[in-house]
């Protein structure tokens, strides 16, 4: 028996309780049904024992004494009394002290109604105060960032927010200042609480000291309704509740899902809800006519599109986008495109991802497996910018459990500090570096870092215990180089697993369901054929299709007649915006299906309004392949419809029947045609134990199914205080009820050598050049994408894109003081601010992608060579 399995016995209030060594008394008691009051204790934070609310009597050599239950570990034979007069008096006393300086703003406090201080005072506290002195005063709420307000008078100094900021997020931007009666939370002057994770502090603050700007004075907890859902702002798939009041979303809160987000949300996910009620929502179908956008009806619009489809060859029809859609939408669109129209030119990625073969055909790891790997190899963009909560999980694992990390990247990332070894490479030379890792000679000019140490690290572990996180770090370079590097890692480290670093909401689900060229639902390749599919689909594409870049290139040649854009704002989001713009003007029928008006809308011939997040049921798939549900809390906006319904109707206008009337029908068919999803019934997805989602294929998810913990009511007070309302889940379109009925799937990945499946990389291998800098363009969390820009408070956080160069490069351009520089490349010129980054190799410039601003994307074209720019001081 290992230590952690060893059971201890103690008695709590005369009742025998089992526990394990190391467990804190407060947690052991809770499992036995005894809720000890608490403020500072939070199950996801290290205990500190500062608030003293949890004092209970514990028997020791000198008899029973008062001890903080959150700060003592259980011991065999421990005797504990939590409800004696002495314990009650102590708890009562602590509350009286806490209230001595508390302003009792309850009527105007956002926390009122879901406040642990209110609740515990009612349950455990004195009913009257003996305190007659003046309370301490501070200026009422001060904005410590654009998203968070701090009311120092309300703070009870529990240390939750500061522990979160320092230990979990790793950015101690807030801390206690002063001492004794002066103690208060503070930021440093002129250094606001600008953390990607700041909203979590308001979520766990046990009083109304920290409140979030978007939610301030929006609602009272007793007026709220909530539904559980999954965040799709990125592909981590954090579990959360969506809370609304009067058909308007007012906030999201993180659910404690052991497997995924462990209570936390990033601020982009948390505050993105404002885009749902944005003024940019598309209310009805539109035709784009010479006179401008003309409102029309669904039937006219669909009729027009159907006619255009009828006269088009299958190969001249293409679909781009869909990575934000629900699995059911994706499947329906894939069926329409590949199974009815017969085109394989369907791509959910916008040339910013990886070859789907890597994602679909490798052995996949869960987040938990990644955090418990013997070695984690990171070959993705900066995870804090792209998959924020995955960053938190990996950071914690490195800090607390000593997870070993080997980082292979173009420059320093937010995880470099935790990495055992960091290797840097010159853009376009990732594959060589990985070959070097496995022993090949490499040109020292093209990389930096301790290669020997990296080699030793890799050979010190069992390859089968390695997990590789693979993503796309550089948008300005072809994806082939990183793809081949990742493939080489996975092939050479036999038995290693892959965790997708693809960022877009449901892009991993899109790959699983065949919304990429060359694939059909179930991670299977098109040419492999599929009996089940043939039975259900009218046709299958005759030719392998094009990816989004190739689609746009063929459009230039006039080969594309109908293009569907599913939530794809090509002009902002496609790496080569110039190509996108030219291509769009050369396609007779561009159908834009979207929730928000964006830069591409005016290039569409027909615009159809789609329902947004929280306006529909469904399911989504995260980086692990975890399928979890999307909750519906709002009535769909105006005339908008869910994307699957649009596909079904469009098929009807073409005289075809997709055979779906509701989400149950779709999910049923997915299970039939996809071995990957087989056994994952709707009942299983909606079952209480499966709320945090189930990883496909099912054989991989045995462990995950019941790990979701219900946290104590004081950990995330905003969730427990709000009743789950709205339609009961059984009548909802997707969630089922009862125990999960799982049958195992027969799916097994066709794992051959991945490298053999990829194209050869035969382009000229360019190294540093004298006066040309190699361009690296990377994503950041708050870019000018329509999602961020249409969420009022997030949009205020978007800063102009910056660039970075090595100290030598800085000198080379002749910069000193100001970094304002003109970058010229691909026939365009862009001015931006440069800063020095010693982690970059000489001859490289790294620039942040700027989404809808579309400046940075002018600097490079998507050809197969490393992009170069000239730079001069402004």
């Amino acid at each position: 028996m290992t230590d952690s399995e060893k059971k201890l016995k103690l008695t709590v209030n005369g009742k025998e309780v089992e526990s394990a060594p190391g467990e804190m008394l407060i947690a052991a008691a809770e499992k036995a049904g005894v809720l000890i009051p608490r403020f500072c204790y939070h199950p996801r934070l290290e205990p500190v024992g500062v608030c003293r609310m949890c004092l209970v009597e514990v028997k020791g050599p000198r008899g029973f004494t008062l001890q903080p239950a959150c700060y003592i570990a259980v011991a065999d034979g421990m005797e504990v009394v939590t409800d004696s007069d002495k314990a009650k008096k102590a708890q009562d006393g602590v509350l009286e002290f806490l209230l001595a300086n508390h302003p009792l703003d309850c009527p105007v406090c956002d926390k009122g109604g879901e406040c642990p201080l209110q609740d515990q005072t009612l349950t455990f506290g004195p009913s009257e105060s003996r305190f007659v002195e003046e309370k301490r005063h501070f200026e009422k709420p001060i904005a410590i960032s654009k998203l968070v307000y701090l009311d120092r008078e309300r703070c009870i100094q529990c240390d939750r927010c500061t522990r979160f900021a320092a230990d979990i997020a790793g950015e101690a931007l807030i801390d206690f200042e002063g001492r004794g009666g002066e103690l208060h939370i503070a930021t440093f002057p002129d250094k606001p609480f600008a953390s990607y994770f700041s909203g979590n502090t308001a979520q766990i603050c046990p009083v109304g000291a920290l409140t979030t700007t978007p939610y301030r004075f929006k609602a009272r907890p007793w007026d709220l309704e909530q539904v559980e859902s999954t965040c799709v702002s990125c592909a981590v798939g954090c579990q959360m509740v969506v809370q609304s009041s009067e058909n308007e979303i007012v906030r999201y809160l993180g659910i404690d899902s052991e497997a995924v987000n462990q209570s936390w949300l990033c601020d982009k996910g948390r505050f993105g809800f404002e885009s749902v009620s944005s003024a940019e929502r598309i209310p009805s179908p539109y035709f784009n006519e010479a006179s401008g956008m003309v409102e029309t009806g669904w039937s006219q619009a669909l009729d027009k599109i159907a006619k255009a489809l009828k006269s088009a060859e299958p190969e001249s029809v293409a679909v781009i986008g869909g990575s934000h859609m629900a699995n059911e939408d994706i499947y329906t669109w894939v069926k329409l495109a590949k199974g009815v129209i017969g085109t394989d030119s369907v791509d959910a990625q916008l040339d910013d991802g990886l070859d789907p073969k890597i994602v679909a055909l490798s052995d996949r790891a869960t987040i938990q497996e990644a955090t418990q790997a013997k070695l984690l190899i990171l070959m993705a963009g900066d995870l804090r910018e792209e998959l924020p909560i995955l960053f938190l999980r990996i950071r914690s694992a490195a800090k607390k459990a000593g997870l070993k990390i080997l980082e292979i990247s173009l420059s320093e990332t937010s995880l470099s500090e935790e990495a055992e070894v960091s290797l840097r490479y010159f853009p376009g030379h990732a594959e060589e570096l990985v070959n070097g890792l496995f022993g090949a000679e490499i040109d020292p000019q093209l990389f930096a870092g301790d290669l020997q140490a990296a080699r030793a690290l890799v050979s010190s572990v069992d390859p089968a215990s390695v997990v590789v996180v693979g993503g796309r770090e550089n948008l300005a370079d072809s994806s082939l180089d990183p793809e081949r590097a990742i493939a080489k890692l996975l092939d050479t480290l036999v038995g290693s697993k892959f965790l997708s670093g693809l960022r877009r909401g449901n892009v991993n689900g899109a790959i699983d369901l065949g919304m990429v060229p060359g694939f059909v639902p179930g991670r299977s390749q098109l040419q492999a054929g599929n009996e089940a599919l043939r039975a259900k689909w009218k046709t299958l594409p005759r030719k392998a299709g094009r990816n989004s870049k190739e689609i746009l290139e063929s459009a230039l040649k006039g080969e594309i007649k109908v293009l569907f854009l599913l939530g794809a704002d090509l002009i902002s989001d496609f790496s080569d915006s110039a190509l996108a713009e030219k291509a769009l003007s050369n396609i007779p029928m561009v159908v834009g299906i979207d929730t928000l008006t964006n830069r591409t809308t005016s290039h569409c011939s027909v615009v159809l309004p789609a329902t947004a997040f929280a306006e529909r049921h469904g399911s989504t798939t995260n980086i692990e392949g975890r399928v979890s549900t999307l909750g519906k809390k709002l009535v769909g906006f105006s005339l908008s419809r869910p994307e699957w319904m649009i596909a079904v109707e469009l098929a009807a206008y073409m005289g075809e029947d997709l055979g779906f009337e509701n989400l149950h029908d779709i999910w049923g068919e997915i299970q039939e045609v996809s071995q990957l999803h087989r056994g994952l019934s709707i009942a299983a997805l909606g079952a209480p134990g499966a709320k945090e989602g189930i990883v496909v294929p099912l054989s991989a998810s045995k462990v995950q199914i019941s790990t979701r913990r219900v946290l104590d009511p004081i950990a995330t007070p905003g969730i427990t205080s709000v009743g789950v309302s709205g339609p009961p889940s059984s009548s909802a379109a997707l969630p089922g009820e009862g125990d999960p009925v799982l049958s195992e799937s027969t799916y097994s990945p066709q794992r051959s050598k991945l490298l053999e499946l990829l194209a050869q990389n035969d382009r000229a291998k360019a190294g540093p050049e004298a006066d040309n800098f190699a361009l690296v363009v990377s994503k950041r969390l708050y870019d000018h994408g329509v999602e961020v820009m249409s969420a009022k408070h997030l949009s205020e956080l978007v800063a102009p894109s910056k660039g970075r160069v090595s100290p030598k490069g800085w000198g080379q351009i002749g910069l000193n003081g100001s970094g304002l520089t003109r970058l010229q490349g691909n026939g365009a010129s862009v001015e931006l601010e440069l800063v020095v980054d010693p982690s970059l190799l000489d001859g490289v410039v790294k620039v942040e992608f700027d989404g809808a601003l579309g400046e940075v994307s002018k600097l490079f074209g998507v050809d197969n060579s490393t992009s170069r720019v000239k730079m001069e001081k402004v």
Partner: protein
Amino acid sequence: MSRFTKEMETRAYELLALYPEKRSATIPLCHLAQEQNGYLTEESMVQIADLVGTTPAEVLGAASFYDMLHTEPVGKYVVGVCTNIACLLQGGEELLGHAEEKLGIATGATTDDGMFTLEDMECIAHCDHAPALQVNYRFFGPLTNDGFDTLVDDLSAGKLESEVPPHGTLSRVQRKHPIAVPLEEIVRHRRDSDAKEGERLAAKAAAEAKEGSN
């Protein structure tokens, strides 16, 4: 000039080298910054955070806990009058009142000429000379009102320069020797003692387990 001067920076690195955990140098570095500038400027806290690998907010958090560290400008002489029990009984409160009059400022304030800051203090362990006070942490007492006036006049006239250095200077004796115990040794020692403790605990657990099974 609020970041460390070149010379002070050298001393900062010497201090940093003394500690196995860089963070532990936070308070000594705060004193160093205060020695240079008389108080802790924002820039110096930012620099200290960089040096010890924390954030400015954490440096401010630590510094603001201690009365000896000032995060706002103070006079050249910080006069702290003790009003704790022994001094109180001997007229400490009255002395403080007199000091306010003599300096023309309220407790906590600084004279316009930037010479004096007045504070009240808890016991400064000079009770046998009550009522006592400190000027830049140098002791004076027992003091009458007249004695206080003389002290202030002397300080203003620069007569006590050798006894009372400007605020922030803790000691004029500087470390000139290399670190006595090399850092590697400290680390090794720590590792050894951790290992021993580990063995001890393991042995104890084994013994307990044996007892349990009997």
